[in-house]
């Protein structure tokens, strides 16, 4: 295989590496060199070089600068809010995501298709729109805020608002990762368990939950990763008070607007490393589902 690659690279589709590849069914088609070259070039220009620029820039920061920006009390407060609120939001999404996935795959009821389509709305609705809509709903005079505020529950312009916005953006992930697993899960297996006298709870615990867990954890990680980096929907509802309701992406923008490029770069690097760590976890989880 390695040999085939070497001959394939650099050839144009006018000269397909047919002879070397003929033993493999896939690979006799022309265009390997061209598609590889174009894919790598475009990937480098749009994604890799820009991302490398961030790493390059942060390499030029001194250690003291880095520590000062990354570990400032204001940054620490922002991490706590972003990572903490994202964890709560992702946990809520796991619970309701499992319920939604179950309802959508196992039950037939009027309006099921509409419910299923609504799940994807947070993917399609621009975050700024979600942001101003949620803020209006939960603010003092809003549809829900007017009932919550008299009871001392402040959602908009307070940390709970951040959680609400993060629940919105992460909502589809758990549903969409769990749904295919539930569809695949052999209903016979559940029936067999039931006919052998297993109680519903026992079947749930021993058959369904173990099968669904890897997908649910992937969904959690995806929703978490999305929520940690989210900006548009959170920035309107959070109130943006430093130390209190300032999320990390907003802190980066604030630093940038104050021309503190070093600070913005350093904090962005922390976020980037965190998302790469999450990406790694997600990849591991996904290979476990496939197995």
């Amino acid at each position: 295989m390695a040999e085939g690659r070497v001959t394939g690279v650099g050839r144009t589709d006018a000269e397909p590496p047919r002879t070397r590849w003929s033993s493999r069914r896939r690979g006799s088609l022309p265009g390997f060199g061209l598609s590889l070259g174009f894919t790598l070039l475009y990937l480098s220009l749009i994604v890799l070089i820009p991302l490398a620029g961030l790493v390059w820039k942060s390499a030029s920061l001194s250690g003291a600068e880095l520590v000062k920006a990354v570990l400032s009390p204001r940054a620490l407060a922002a991490y706590r809010l972003s990572f903490g609120a994202a964890a709560i939001a992702a946990a809520v999404n796991v619970v309701f995501g499992l319920i939604l996935a179950w309802v959508l795959t196992r039950y037939r009821f009027p309006g099921r298709q509409i419910l299923d389509a609504l799940v994807d709305l947070p993917f399609a609705l621009p975050t700024a729109v979600a942001g101003i809509a949620l803020t209006t709903i939960y603010s003092e005079n809003g549809w829900l805020g007017r009932f919550l505020e008299p009871h001392g529950i402040k959602v908009a312009f307070a940390p709970p608002g951040v959680v609400v916005a993060m629940i919105f953006v992460g909502l589809p992930f758990v549903v969409r990762t769990v749904q295919p697993v539930l569809l695949d899960l052999d209903a016979h297996m559940e029936e067999a368990a039931a006919t052998m006298g297993a109680s519903r709870l026992y079947t749930l615990r021993t058959v369904i939950l173990p099968a669904v867990m890897p997908a649910a954890s992937t969904g959690f990680a995806l929703a978490y990763a999305r929520a940690v980096g989210e900006y548009g929907s959170v920035v309107f509802i959070s109130g943006n008070m430093p130390m209190k309701t300032e999320i990390v992406p907003l802190l980066i923008i604030t630093k940038l607007e104050q021309f503190d490029y070093a600070g913005a770069t350093a904090i962005a690097l922390v976020m980037l490393l965190a998302s790469f760590a999450l990406l790694f976890v997600i990849n591991v989880l996904q290979t476990r589902i496939k197995r």
Binding site: M1, G4, R24, R25, R26, G27, S28, L29, P30, G31, F32, L34, S35, L36, T39, V47, L48, P50, G53, L54, K57, L100, V103, L104, Y107, F109, L115, A117, D120, L121, P122, F123, A124, L125, P126, T127, A128, V129, A130, I132, A133, L134, T136, I137, F168, R200, A225, G229, E230, Y231, V248, P249, L250, I252, I253, A264, L272, S275, I282, N283
Partner: protein, 270 residues
């Protein structure tokens, strides 16, 4: 084994309540707020010159970044679906990378690279090329954000449909481009359309990344989402929601188109 009726209906109730609270209510509120001051105010907000300029810039942005990502998506899918080569899973991870980068950081990287104090800043300035705080930067950041969308949708379909027809075309003497345009692309056309719709929705609605590179110059570097933000921050709430309703309609149309294409793909395969 069927769940008892009480359990079934309480779970359905929970699901409906959750989606109603977190998804349906925000969407409905957009339209209610948009028409709060009547239809006249609604259309005035949309006809405002700054809004029109924002709509134009958004269309231009999507009009460039979506086709770019379509070409890339087809090339990358062809590469990954048709050949075996080492490093393939690594390549897949790299293609997905923009999904896991915060939108704000997606904008920041272009500022650090192409801004006045960026790595290529002096070079661009010497040639009087404006990228950051100009439409070019908005287009670049949007292309980054929507990078994986088409490849993600086309690749699984290309893999699933296999290469038998392509192999046959090859033995019949077809050339590479002929195979691509006459055999492969017609086969995966629904996947491409699906990817285009998702890519376009995100390109038109992107806020965080675009907000970092735009500079918020009214009438010049504002896209629709940025125009919504400006109006909202000026306490022109009904105007902000009126402009936001354009994006909401786009989202709803996207969802419907998506459903239709999903059904198409399913019947196509069957």
């Amino acid at each position: 084994m069927k769940d008892p009726a009480w359990l079934r209906w309480s779970l359905i109730g929970l699901a409906v309540a959750f989606l109603g609270l977190f998804v349906a209510m925000p969407v409905i509120s957009v339209f209610v707020e948009a028409f709060r001051n009547g239809a006249g105010a609604y259309f005035d907000a949309i006809k405002e010159p700054d809004t029109i300029a924002a709509i134009k810039l958004t269309l231009l942005t999507a009009g460039i970044s979506v086709p770019l990502n379509v070409v890339f998506g087809i090339a990358a899918s062809w590469l990954i679906a048709k050949y075996r080569f080492p490093g393939k899973s690594m390549l897949l991870t790299l293609i997905d990378l923009p999904f896991s980068v915060s939108p704000v950081i997606s904008g920041l990287i272009f500022v650090l690279l192409l801004g006045a104090r960026g790595i290529f800043g002096p070079f661009l300035e010497a040639h009087d090329w404006h990228v950051i705080f100009a439409p070019a930067g908005i287009i670049l950041a949007t292309t980054f954000i929507t990078f994986p969308f088409v490849a993600r949708e086309v690749l699984p379909i290309m893999q699933e449909l296999g290469s038998d027809e392509e192999e046959q075309a090859l033995t019949l003497g077809a050339r590479g481009w002929q195979i691509l345009f006459r055999v492969t692309l017609p086969k995966v056309r629904w996947g491409i359309l699906y990817g285009v719709i998702l890519c376009n929705a995100r390109a038109m609605g992107e806020f965080g990344a675009v907000s970092v590179v735009s500079g918020h110059i009214r009438g010049q570097t504002n896209t629709i989402p940025l125009q919504v933000e400006i109006m909202y921050n000026e306490y022109n709430f009904s105007g902000a929601f009126a402009v936001a309703s354009i994006l909401t309609i786009l989202a709803l149309v996207t969802l419907v188109a998506r459903k239709i294409i999903e059904l198409r793909i399913r019947t196509h395969k069957a």
